[in-house]
Each structure stands twice: as C-alpha cells, then as structure tokens.
Symmetry: C2
Subunit: 333 residues, 2 copies
C-alpha cells in the first residue's frame, strides 16, 4: 500500500483489491464479506429492522472516538431503538485523495473493534475515492439489519397520558466534545459519549410493550427528539429542568461555548417513553450499567398543550421547548 | 425551501424536516418511510441478499441519467446479480452546501421513477450536508435487501471447464459516456447504458443453477470482472475479441479518447458463466429484451492458463487480459 490513498484505490481494479486485501479483510473478515460478491447472502428472521446513516463528522478523529467507531455505534444504536438485535452491517467508504493510509487503518480498526463489541458482522461494502478538494478526509456510510425482538412494537402511537420519560444518562456530551475539538475553546479535552447501547437497550426490551418508544437523541439533541415524539399527536411532554442529567464539565463548557445541552447531540444515550409502573424500576436497572449511571426519569406525558414539549424551570415557570431551528453545529455525525 | 441547500438542512432540526416533508416524502412515500423512525420495520423471507454502494459520479447529471437513477440501478442490479429479487432500499444523501434545491428535486425524482420501475421501496434514509468545498454537489449511498430466489446459488465455485461466457449486451458505454460528458472531446452526446437489469436477470433465474455466476461489469469493465471470476481458481476464461459486442459509436469514441471498451464501465449489462447446454438458448431469450438485443456468447471456460483471462484476436493470437491496474477514469459511479 502507498502512504496516501490515491484515486486508483477507488478504480475497482488492482489497487482497490489491495486496499480490500490488506486493510479491510484483515480487520473485518468473516465468511460473507470474504466472498466479495456483489452483495452478501444472509439468513435472517422474517421480521427485521433496516437502518442507514452517513457519517461526515469533522474532525474524523475526536476525543473518545473516530468516524469508524461512530459509524458502527450510530447504526447499531438505531437498530436497537427499533426494538431489534443488530446482526449485519454494510460499510461504504468515500475517501478523499491524499488521505493517509495509516489513518484509514486506524478508522477501520475502530470499525472492527466496535463491530465485535456489538456482535455485528460487516458483511458487504464499497470503497470510493474522490479527488482532492471534493471530499473531506473520509465519509462513511453504514446500513444495518437487525432481527426484531418478539413481542415488541415501538412507536409513538403507543404513547398515552401518564407515561413517563426516561433519559438514559447525562446529555449533550457528543456535541460539546466535537465543537470543542474543532474550535479548541477549552483546554481540557471533553470526551464524546459515543458508545453502543446494546446492554442498555436489552434492559428496556425486557419490559416489552411497557416501553412505548425508544430513540437516541443524536442531531438536534434531547429537545428535538422529544418534539418528534409529540409531533402530530394530542400529547404534551413536560420535562423538569432540574431532573435532566448534565455532567458538570458539559454544563460549564456549554456556558462558555454558548450551547444548550438540551439541543446538543448525544451518541450513546436514549430517550424512552414508558408505562409509569415500570419507570423507576427501569431507571434502577439502567443505572447498574456504566454508561447509564445517570439514567433518570425527566418528565411525563400530559395533554396540557397538544404536540408541544414543555420544560419546567426550577422556579416553576413553564416554557415551550421547540425543535432545533438553527445551525448549532454542522457535521457532528 | 430555500433556492440552495444550506448546512441547516443537515442539522436534524426544522430545516431537515422541511427537506424530508417537501422533497423526499412526496417523491418516495410509502408506509415504512413515512414513519420516520430510526429505521424501517420489514417482513422478509429468511434468505436475503444485502448490498451497498456509494455513488460519487462526476458529473452528477450525465447523458442517459443522473446520480439518482444510477444509485437505484446500481444497487438493484447488485441484488439481482446475487440471485435475489430486490425489495427494499435505503437512501442516504451527502449534499454539498450551496447545492441547488431544483437539482435535488430532479435527482430524487429519478430515484422515485427507478424505484417504481424496479419494484423496490425506499424505506429508510438519511441526509447530511457538508460545508462548501468539502463535498462535490451530491453523493448518494444506497443499501438494498433482496429476497433470494429459491434453488439458485451463484458463485465462482460452480464454474467448470466447458462453461460458456455470456455478455448481456454491448460493452463500455457508461465509462465512455461519462468521460465524454466530462471532457467534451466528441460533440455528439454518448448515452450511458445505466438501466435496471430486472427482466434480464429474470431470464437467467429461469435456468436455475445452470447459470453458475452473474456479475455486472461496472468499475474496471468486462476485463476486470472476468478476472474476478478466474482469480484463485484452476480455470481460464478465453474470450474471442470479435464476439464481444461494442456499439459503433463507442468503438469510434474509444479510439479517439484512448479508451479500451473492455475496461470501460457498464451500468446496465451483466456477464454470466453458464452451462454450455443453455448458453445459446439464454442468449436468444435475452435478445428479445430491448436492453439485451446484442447479448452474445463471448467465450468459454478452459484450463489453458489457470486463473487467467485470455483474449483471442481475429488473427488467432492470444494475449492475457489483466485486471484494470491504472486509473482509466475516476468517479464514474
């Protein structure tokens, strides 16, 4: 392999084969991928979930992860949020000409580590190289297939008055981490929360349809995801400001950087709307997992203002918490 | 919608919702996509094929198609080549800031038209916007799921001595079309062969395992795909130069542009290795379809030089036809 990726690595010819044989297959090898056909042949259950995301994060290596780790975590988490066990991923790379081969190895190693940790196989893929100045280092797309857990059917149509809102941990870390990595406004490194939610989702699967809906508040943060839950429904979500877990350093950084943790992206957290009867028990179970140690009930479902999300401040005042409507931070995932 | 796509359309907030509601859903709507969850919930048969490709073609609108048409045809064809009936696609967009909204509509309309023509549904997706100078107009990733046709198991391990090689139509059109669209070396427009191979593949499915393997010769062209068939096998593929169908205008353009049609990409053709007993019958059946009117038996499987592809010229001499090893043309798909 050359020291830098040139256009010929994306030509479909000999150099593409070398890239596959020397970097991709050694890290990701499994029986499906190794056949290198036009696609992978798989056995799955009849009920599946199918999800995709393209990752264009800048910088592609950030405190707590890199684009390879993120591209597995993101799609695996989306499949979990659908109530499915992630099984298979595709991996498609768009590399800018001149990208260092060593960095590509680093990114692919992270893909490999996270895939193993999540119990998924990378079964098919694609590599394209774009000319210098027409990409940005590396973009990655993953698509994934999960097998649906029997007896679970998440969806906002299940939400009803009295349900409670769980946030699985402190919010805003990923967005703040990326902004700080980019702008270097604060000297201390702020870690992204980028993580696979497998164990945490399994805790929730245990409660069957007493969990109404799960979703990971990535772009747009907690506020935007809560609005997606109430949009076009007769319900209101009311959250209590002082119940929303925010890490001390994130709170400080948000004040300095002019960010709102409720709109800042997360990559290792979920929101759940649940039957009130299981809310506190579920939170207790979640807290036993390292990445959910700050899991909390942050609010409830009411009918006060249909389709709206309200936040109650510590002094008792209520205000509407709208969807993200401006560019807080582009290219965070 | 604004006249041009700005970064906020990729923020996950209100503008992302507008882009989805005003452009994507009206063109692509179906019950799975409309739920806009983290993924689509699908019912499939137990044996599936799974494939992905990212499309970075330059220019994104070309004679005979655009990146939207290509991104459906390419993945649908890959699923067909696996011996499966394409059912579901994901669609993920990476748009460069400043991309004209009208062009985005045009691309998405093509996605919609080709998806309908192929009988597939776009069930899940993602939109990212990258800052100006860090992308190139629009990149698209599609991943697809197909249901395997019972009784078919394609693979190079099925190939045996005496098998025949079918090319489903004239070769080299897509690559030549794109080079000419980019460099404008020849005044007449040369059309890409970009097309869905559904009907043509169904002809081949009819012959069960008498078809050993199917593959569409995209990047690297016919020569590279034939080499993929023989690589690491004891077999040789010998093709006859005068049997390879090449359109007159492609032949002329190749001479002018310094291209070799055998290495030039195709986006609506396949190569098949088949039992000699069905080869000519299959070609007759293929020729009844418009896009396969030039289908031909172009060679056979021998054991003359293990793992190599040989081409016999009209004067009888044989030479080795290697894999593509240099950059004939970057970003053709």
């Amino acid at each position: 392999m050359d020291e830098f990726i040139s256009l010929s690595y994306g030509s479909g010819g000999k150099k593409t084969s070398r890239l596959i044989d020397e970097i991709l297959l050694p890290a990701l090898s499994n029986s499906s991928l190794s056949q290198l056909g036009d696609g992978a042949l798989l056995k799955v259950s009849e009920d599946i979930a199918f999800s995709t995301d393209s990752y264009v994060i800048d910088p592609y290596i950030f405190p707590g992860g890199n684009i390879g780790k993120l591209s597995v975590c993101g799609t695996v988490n989306d499949l979990l949020m659908c109530g499915s066990i992630p099984k298979y991923l595709s991996l498609s790379l768009i590399i800018e000409e001149g990208f260092p081969t060593e960095k590509l190895k680093e990114v692919i190693d992270s893909v490999s580590i996270m895939a193993k940790a999540s119990g998924v196989q990378i079964v098919t893929g694609d590599t394209k190289v774009v000319d210098r100045g027409h990409g940005h280092g590396i973009f990655i797309n993953t698509a994934g297939i999960g097998e649906r857990v029997k007896g679970i059917s998440y969806g906002k149509e299940n939400i009803r008055t009295g349900d409670m809102v769980i946030l699985s941990g402190s919010c805003g870390n990923h967005g703040v981490s990326i902004l700080n990595a980019r702008e270097k406004l604060i000297e201390t490194e702020i870690l992204s929360d980028c993580a696979v939610l497998m164990e945490a989702a399994e805790v929730m699967f245990h409660y069957g349809n007493k969990v109404r809906i799960l979703r990971d508040p990535t772009r747009g943060g907690v506020a935007t995801t809560l609005n997606e839950f109430t949009e076009n429904t007769p319900y209101t979500i009311e959250i209590q400001e002082d119940k929303v877990p925010v890490d001390g350093e994130i709170r400080t950084a948000c004040e300095l950087l002019g960010l709102d943790p409720l709109y800042s992206a997360n990559e290792g957290k979920f929101l759940a709307i649940v039957d009130p009867g299981i809310a506190f028990e579920a939170v207790e179970a979640l807290r036993k997992l390292g990445i959910c140690k700050n899991a909390s009930v942050i609010g409830e479902v009411t009918e006060l203002m249909p389709s709206k999300v309200l936040i109650k401040g510590v002094l008792g005042g209520r205000r509407i918490l709208d969807k993200l409507s401006y560019d807080m931070l582009p290219r965070i995932c």
